[in-house]
């Protein structure tokens, strides 16, 4: 089980805590859990208990300013909690021990890297991808690249014209469509271009 030294703050100990950095949110929960364990086990108004809680809390706040204190905070607070739990009622002691174990296990659990969505590399697929996401300008840019790659106006031009129409640039859509009507060689493309032309006629 590999331990992430970066997340534990051992590579850059003076960097401040940022929950959004990799692995940091679970470290926050781990430290909050072990601090909660101390809160639970410090029962009654004892001076010793107050000092224990104050030390644990100070370590928690300190580790916000310097990640290097993460491990110190976690281990010291866990030790405080377990030390106090020995004198606590059995039920409380078991609960605190469970919290401490959980807080020590959480930081070393393997993390699945966030899934990243990849934009398709071919122009037709990328155009379909951006259209499906509702980004007409990105779709237009990829459809334009697709269209200029066609030797005679075909599917790329038709798609480009449709996207122009959806963007609201009617003149540009008609200009692109006119190139298809004038130069397309495929009967199917021509038929669909005529259909669009009829639909878009003022």
């Amino acid at each position: 089980m590999a331990v992430d030294l970066e997340a534990l703050g051992l590579r850059s100990p003076l960097v401040a805590f940022v929950a959004q950095d990799p692995g940091q949110t679970r470290l926050l929960f781990a430290r909050a859990l072990v601090l909660f364990a101390v809160v639970v086990v410090v029962r009654g108004r004892t001076v010793r208990g107050a000092w224990a809680l104050a030390i644990a809390g100070t370590l928690f706040v300190g580790s916000l300013a310097a990640r290097g204190l993460f491990v110190v905070d976690l281990i010291a607070t866990a030790a405080i909690a377990l030390g106090l739990a020995r004198a606590a009622p059995r039920r409380v002691g078991l609960f605190v021990a469970a919290l401490v174990v959980a807080s020590l296990v959480i930081p070393v659990l393997p993390v699945r890297p966030p899934a990243r969505e990849h934009v398709p590399t071919t122009a037709p697929e990328a155009t379909a991808y951006w259209r499906a996401r509702g980004n007409l300008y990105r779709a237009h840019a990829t459809a334009f690249a697709w269209a200029i790659g066609e030797t005679t106006p075909a599917e790329g031009y038709l798609t480009l014209a449709s996207i122009d129409w959806e963007i609201g640039d009617r003149d540009r859509a008609r200009r692109v469509l006119s190139k298809v009507l004038a130069n397309a060689t495929s009967d199917d493309v021509l038929a669909r271009a005529r259909e669009l032309d009829a639909r878009w006629s003022p």
Binding site: A16, R133, G134, R138
Partner: protein, 475 residues
């Protein structure tokens, strides 16, 4: 004499809180698009079928977020202007903090001790304090705290549950933070379960409060959509890129104050004479401590939780030895609070101090000229945080690139990520400008994109002022 003194202190404290809130108040992007949306609703007496403001948003139906706040803000601006809106927002924020301060701390000693913390409630997130739905969110949280305290102490759910329903029903129209009313009571129910059975209040009202809050939110026709949006905003990875939702900079000592105070309150509550609800209240503060460490937006709520727990504690600590100094200090503190409040109120506050007013005018004229000439690059591109002002100033004529309304649905089509790319000011930024057919760029002065375009012969600088630059693409 005593009641008069208490009243003077309460009044002076409100003056100080309102003064500080006014001093820090601004209208940022969110405030401007809220006004613009409200204006659209008032002008058309209908809901828009598609986004009227931005060209890069997802086409199709647009769900307006916090429509009640939009209409309210537009009506206030129509009646008393932008500065008047800032005054109203400052008063709402001050009311929120004054309510929690005055209800949590009942004795003069406790109120004097907690007054700096109450002012810190306003100051802690001054950077983001602005006229927007968030001020209603702060007020809603405080009212929710009252409901939770009442459930803890009185256990009269017959009265409190309808109030919670009403709170959620109104809150859902004002700010997405209404989800707090859905989850916080249930979370507090779990915390209250930590209390020994003998002194524990009934648990079911806490869970019932969450249930009726859900019902209250969903009474609104937009409720379910808002709920999805709020939960999506909270948990979507893209939210982690928004400054407000990120951890504060803990190398700035000011951000360590609230966590340090939280620890102090937890320790002090442990030493407090009142045994009942000790552990749940400590856990309550710890809960908000964790939330505030994870996201800057919860810093204010953490301070509210600290006031809510520390107030009754300080009330219990009032003893004979504190009475004489408190007697003398009340007048002094009231005087100082009045003076501070008056000074803060006297400071000028320009609603447009952060808005690119002149650059937007130049950009609009340039866009109209390019559109009239049929230019292939007619669009205006600006940063997300200025989009709200463009919505307000242009009302959709022309439409601009992006704003901060909703990064999940409206701009979750890649435009939000592309805006982030523009800040890099590299070759990828130029590719984004090409993809969105940008002919005009308005950008903060001195940023990487400004430097990139200044050095690029394809772009011409047409405007520069203290905060903004405007470039047009050369033919």
């Amino acid at each position: 004499m005593e009641p008069v003194k208490h009243t003077v202190l309460a009044f002076a404290a409100f003056l100080a809180m309102a003064g500080l809130a006014w001093h820090q108040m601004a209208i940022l992007g969110d405030g401007f698009w809220t006004i613009a949306t409200g204006r659209w609703l008032l002008a058309h007496h209908a809901l828009p079928t598609s986004d009227p403001f931005a060209f890069a948003s997802v086409p199709g139906p647009w769900t307006i977020v916090s429509s009640g706040a939009c209409v309210l803000f537009a009506a206030i601006v129509r009646a008393v202007g932008e500065r008047g809106l800032m005054v109203v927002a400052a008063l709402v924020e001050a009311l929120a903090v004054w309510l929690i301060w005055s209800r949590a701390a009942r004795t003069p000693f406790a109120r004097i001790v907690l007054l700096p913390l109450a002012l810190f409630f306003v100051q802690v997130d001054a950077e983001d304090l602005s006229a927007r739905g968030q001020v209603f969110g702060d007020l809603g949280i405080v009212l929710l705290f009252f409901v939770l305290a009442a459930l803890r102490d009185s256990g009269r759910p017959k009265l409190l549950l309808p109030l919670t329903t009403l709170l959620a029903c109104v809150w859902v129209n004002l700010h997405l933070s209404f989800v707090s009313a859905l989850f916080l009571p249930a979370a507090c129910g779990v915390l209250v379960a930590l209390e020994p059975r003998a002194s524990r209040p009934p648990l079911w009202p806490f869970f019932a409060a969450s249930g009726v809050a859900l019902a209250g939110a969903c009474i609104n026709p937009y409720g379910p959509a808002y709920l999805r949006l709020a939960l999506g905003t909270a948990f979507d990875p893209s939210t982690q890129h928004i400054d407000l939702f990120r951890s504060p900079d803990f190398h700035d000592g000011a951000w360590l104050i609230a966590p340090a105070l939280a620890v102090a309150v937890i320790v002090a509550r442990g030493r407090d004479a009142e045994d009942r609800m000790r552990l749940p209240e400590q856990a309550f503060v710890l809960l908000f401590l964790v939330a505030a460490c994870g996201s800057r937006r919860f810093a204010t709520t953490l301070v509210a939780a600290e006031i809510a727990v520390a107030g009754p504690m300080l009330d219990r600590w009032r003893s004979a030895r504190f009475a004489p100094p408190t007697q003398r200090a009340t007048w002094v503190v009231a005087g100082l609070a009045t003076l501070a409040g008056a000074l803060w109120m006297a400071s000028g506050n320009d609603p447009f101090r952060d808005a690119p007013v002149a650059a937007a005018k130049v950009a609009r004229e340039a866009q109209r000229a390019r559109a009239a000439s049929g230019d292939a690059y007619p669009n205006v591109v600006e940063p997300l945080h200025w989009g709200g002002y463009f919505a307000y100033a242009w009302m959709g004529d022309p439409r601009y690139f992006i704003d901060g309304r909703d990064h999940l649905r409206l701009f979750g089509n890649g435009a939000f990520d592309d805006e982030a790319t523009l800040w890099r000011g590299d070759a990828a930024s130029l590719e984004v400008l090409d993809a969105y057919e940008a002919g005009i760029v308005v950008w903060p002065r001195g940023e990487a994109l400004d430097r990139l375009l200044r050095a690029d012969p394809a772009w011409q600088l047409v405007h520069a002022d203290a905060i903004a630059v405007a470039y047009v693409r050369r033919p």
